[in-house]
Amino acid sequence: MSIIKAVHLRKRFIVKKKEPGLKGALKGIFAPKKIIINALDDVSFSMKKGEIIGLIGPNGAGKSTTIKILTGILQPLSGEVEVMGLNPQKKRAEVVSRIGVVFGQRSQLYWDIRLGESFELFRRIYRIPDEEYNANLELMDSLLGIRRLIDIPVRQLSLGQRMRGEIVSAVLHSPDILFLDEPTIGLDIQAKRNIRKFIREINQKKKTTIILTTHDLGDVQELCPRLVVINKGKIIEDGALDAIVHRLAPERILQIDTDKVKKDFTYPHCKMIKCEENKMWISFNRENVSASKLIAALSAEVRINDLQVKEPDIEDAIEQIYGEG
């Protein structure tokens, strides 16, 4: 039984192209040049209850559009959607009462009132029983320390604090499915960690099904056993995270700070990609080379002051393999 089913989804946007200058402006009024954007071009996937997937892909790939269709905000041009067995366009109210949605790029909270007042508002809108509301708030306090923020007007919250507020407001009514569209965007590492912990806990404790979009590979590596990769409105990969990362972006990069570099350092299956005054970058394939062995070999030849293993940028890899978005 799938809790989410999307079959052959298509979505098209028609936008007017603005041309510069007075002539362009006049032309825009009388004979506007229209361009068609195929935001979703045959998207199909499904999810089982309790699953977490990472929906990733470069900017403009169609991640947010997918979420907006699944949550009933947008109508698809064609294709079928089922969320908990219901069509979110036809049974919108019923579907949205059982899902939670966070858009990292835009706020669901009310800027002029205190965070707690927004929560109260949601409690009434979703008719959340007192017990459930208090229990959820309690859980959220232990995960995200939300009580401390409750008396602050939303406009005065920092980005990280506000995002915590957004997330709490999306789970107060114990949704079965949580849609998180770039919830970690612009956050520092500590704030990201908090949110990752929250996602893991709510998935384990409440069996909440979660769709997460992010540009941070760290997020998906920590949270999502399964990855759905989208590019130019098409799903190009759907499967186990490890397999996809290995296939799309097998190379990791070791960055070494040293007093004296050794330009001619070699090691099987490794490549020196850059060498500066006191820094070296070596790429290596995670399948044949272990980072620790490479570091051991290096430290025999140079003095290592500091080191860093960088994960590959999967979005770069997608663009390289499938063309620019």
């Binding site: 946007f13 907006k68 949550t71 905000i73 109508q75 919108r92 949205v96 835009r106 009310y110 009132i113």
Partner: protein, 257 residues
């Protein structure tokens, strides 16, 4: 709701302008009617006090519309900024959520001059306020408010289909709604009266109800009681506008980020 009210108080200077400007405009309109009716003794069979009744009724319904349905003035803005995303995520009727989010207490500035003018006219006209008359007045106020709201709703919901600007739409619609209710319809040529009765039913906001209260004849000899008719037309027109709004919402595009 509270949020909408608070943001009003954050712009006290703007509020001050409205507090001065709106009543000035309203009483100015009455003065114009006074001048016209003394110059030409009677226009279209209306006495000055009849005109004041008509004019006051128009402003009161405008005030009610602004208090309860101010949201519809912002439809295009909300569409362009993707604000309906949030509304569509609530398990409630989206139009209801849309309306209560900008409940507008500041509309008292609009309604107060109307109440003063209307009360003045009622006192001068010595109307018999029996139960039927009171029910009729309620019907007329509801009907007129719904007609005004319907006009703004339709104009605003065009924003779901093409990019329109609030300022332009509201200016045009407000101009239309104000001017067609500042003078009784029967001073206009027949063709225009047809349009303003059957196409955009502004005649039912105040011309026909006032004629009913004054016991005057109307151009089209409408057989049903004009006050009751106002309520029925108001409900029908509002439902039509609501249908168009819902249809527009199906075409809502959100925004790309």
């Amino acid at each position: 709701m509270r949020c909408a009210v608070q943001s009003w108080f954050e712009y006290p200077l703007e509020m001050l302008c409205w507090i001065i400007f709106i009543p000035l405009y309203s009483f100015g309109g009455l003065l114009l009617l006074k001048v016209i009716s003394t110059q030409f003794s009677e226009i279209g069979g209306w006495t000055f006090h009849g005109l004041a009744f008509f004019y006051g009724l128009g402003i009161v319904t405008h005030g009610l519309h602004v208090i309860f349905f101010f949201a519809v003035w912002h439809t295009n803005y909300m569409v362009l900024n993707g604000e309906f995303d949030r509304i569509l995520l609530y398990p409630m009727n989206p139009f209801f959520m849309f309306i209560i989010q900008s409940f507008n207490i500041a509309g008292y500035i609009d309604i107060t001059p109307g109440i003063i003018i209307f009360t003045y006219a009622c006192l001068k006209l010595n109307l018999d306020w029996n139960a039927v008359a009171i029910l009729k007045l309620i019907a007329v106020l509801i009907g007129g408010t719904l007609i005004r709201t319907g006009i703004f709703m339709i104009a605003g919901a065009i924003g779901f289909f093409r990019d329109t600007r609030n300022a332009v739409t509201n200016f045009m619609v407000d101009f239309l709604a104000y001017n067609t209710t500042a003078f009784p319809l029967n001073i206009y040529p027949y063709g225009i009266q047809v349009i303003l009765t059957f196409l955009i039913p502004v005649g039912f906001i105040n011309t026909y109800p006032a004629q009913d209260f004054m016991g005057m004849d109307n151009t089209f000899s409408i057989p049903i009681n004009l006050s009751l008719c106002t309520l029925l037309v108001g409900i029908a027109f509002f439902l039509l506008a609501y249908g168009f709004f819902r249809f527009g919402l199906k075409h809502y595009k959100s925004t790309g980020s």
